[in-house]
């Protein structure tokens, strides 16, 4: 389709690759040049993880119009799966034994470990997807909360992976990677995965296939009458959403190097919800923007300690009172700044 667009208008250049590639290179340069310290790197990584979380939750809560508040649960599944894989394959641990593969191979296999966590989390998403055939709205929301509790309690009671004490050892994998090449691997992979997630969601939601998901939000009966298999679309939406949450979880685990079940409880799910509603439901650029804003806010409010859990919910209340549609409504950045359109043109088919 690229040819067609250049034929129509030479100004229609796709600037995405340049913007993203350039941005990534600048960040990488600043890191390697020592300008960006460890703390800022961590914040950047949390921004990336939060982008995945809010964009993926937006599939269900924004585009499909259901209310899922168990996103933390899927993150947990992904985090634990990829952590166990990572420790099992690349590190020597007291109870999983010697590494199954040479630790240096982590350089190549690390993304697979993260994707593995995503795949298992996607299947965990079926736990909510299947009830969603018959249940909707508030009732489905309760099911998603229940799912979140199930995952947290399950891991709390699985003693062999540490139970409520948590699970660690993922840093060893990262160190093994850094032994091979001195690069900020977690930062690189967080940037790669968050960019990919946003792009995949963008593609999905713009295809006729993905429009099947938004057709459910507005009128499920219409969708059925026009031949859309709504049950299938719900499975797709929930699985893609929870799978990406799992990827975010895997990255989160490797950034922190330590996870415990309570990091993924309803509080985490609430954070995801706040980001989606802050950005605007059904707006992908809103999700990205709100993930950035929200992560910064969390960091700025860090000195307030526990008080931030008074301020964040208060923000949510004020947001719902005065701007219920979120920062972006259901618009995209290019709707607000139409002049950007030629440069970030959707390649219409």
């Amino acid at each position: 389709m690229d040819n067609a667009i250049t034929l129509v208008n030479k100004k229609h250049i796709n600037l995405w690759p340049a913007v993203l590639g350039g941005g990534a290179l600048i960040i990488l340069g600043l890191v390697l040049g020592g300008v960006i310290n460890q703390y800022i790197q961590t914040v950047l990584m949390f921004i990336g993880i939060n982008i995945i979380l809010s964009a993926s939750l937006n599939i269900v809560n924004g585009y499909m119009g259901e209310f899922s508040c168990g996103h933390g649960g899927f993150m947990l599944v992904g985090a634990y799966t990829s952590s166990i894989l990572s420790v099992l394959f690349f590190t020597k641990s007291p109870w999983l034994g010697a590494p199954l593969l040479p630790p240096s191979s982590a350089v190549f296999l690390f993304p697979l470990v993260i994707i593995g966590g995503g795949i298992v989390a996607a299947f965990a998403g079926l736990l909510v997807a299947i009830p969603s055939f018959k249940t909707r709205d508030d009732y489905l929301a309760i099911i998603t909360i229940a799912a979140n509790f199930i995952f947290v309690s399950l891991v709390n009671n699985l003693e062999f992976i540490g139970g409520s004490r948590g699970f660690m050892g993922m840093k060893t994998t990262i160190y093994a990677m850094e032994d091979v090449a001195d690069l900020p691997f977690t930062l690189i992979w967080t940037m790669v995965f968050s960019t990919l997630s946003v792009f995949l969601i963008r593609r999905l939601m713009r295809s006729t296939f993905g429009k099947g998901i938004s057709s459910i939000r507005h009128d499920e009966i219409s969708a059925e009458i026009m031949g859309v298999n709504t049950n299938n679309m719900k499975i797709v939406a929930f699985m893609v959403s929870s799978g990406l949450a799992g990827i975010a979880g895997g990255l989160f685990a490797h950034v922190l190097g330590f996870i415990n079940p309570s990091s993924f409880n309803i509080m985490k799910s609430t954070e995801c919800l706040v980001m989606v509603y802050l950005g605007g439901m059904g707006s992908l650029s809103g999700s990205v923007l709100s993930a950035v804003v929200f992560t910064f806010l969390l960091e700025v409010m860090r000195p307030l300690q526990i008080l931030k859990w008074v301020i964040i919910p208060l923000m949510l209340i004020l947001l719902m009172q005065f701007r219920p549609e979120g920062l972006m409504g259901n618009r995209e950045l290019t709707d607000i700044f139409p002049k950007l359109k030629p440069y970030f043109k959707r390649r219409d088919l």
Binding site: G212, S215, H218, I225
Partner: protein
Amino acid sequence: MSLLKINDMTHRFGGLTAVSNLNYELEDGKIYGLIGPNGAGKTTVFNLVSGFYNPSMGEINYNGEVINGMAPHDVASRQIGRTFQNIRLWEDMTVLENIKMSHHFKLGYNLIDVFFKTKKYQTREKEITEEAMELLEVFKLTDLAHERPSSLPYGIQRRVEIARALSLGPKLLMLDEPAAGLSTADVVELIDYIKWVHETFNITIWMIEHQMQVIMSLCDRIKVIDFGQEIADGVPEEIQNNPEVIKAYLGDGAI
């Protein structure tokens, strides 16, 4: 040959029998009307045929295939188009996107194709857009392709909804009160429009309607039901003069 054949269909909601022992036969290429007083079970019949309910008893045969018990999207994919009493277009999609959704069950690509933007995905999306644009052109709606339905007048929304139902390429088009909420002038236009659709697409049309003007000027055959039971069936003239029908509509005292 009959396109749709309903044999002894009964449907109960708990203790209420909404449709009882209904027999129906629709032949290819004609326009049929289904009328009856409020609460007679007309929409229930439509919902049974389009798969929203599964009949308690009886059989629905469409184009040589038993369709009762199928999910609505399976019925739709067997080429039955339908509209509703209230307009159910997707308000947040453009007219074009609304039409394109009819290809959803025959996309021919999957999620992986979407993610990797494969050749197959690109060609199919292009074909779908072209087909939808062609259909819009037939309906003279090309100018409105990128409008959202909510910005269009009610009468036009009706037309778009009928166009959307026809984008499934149906052999049978079911219209549930197409004239509801239209002004007198719009109703006259709608009658011509349905006639035009019937001639252009050469399909069977089955409609529920309260406005006798619409029913009498369009239908080849009319069935009247009351309390879920058939009380009359015939050509428009027969129905107009049937005492049972007048009784059902106006009450005993009218005779």
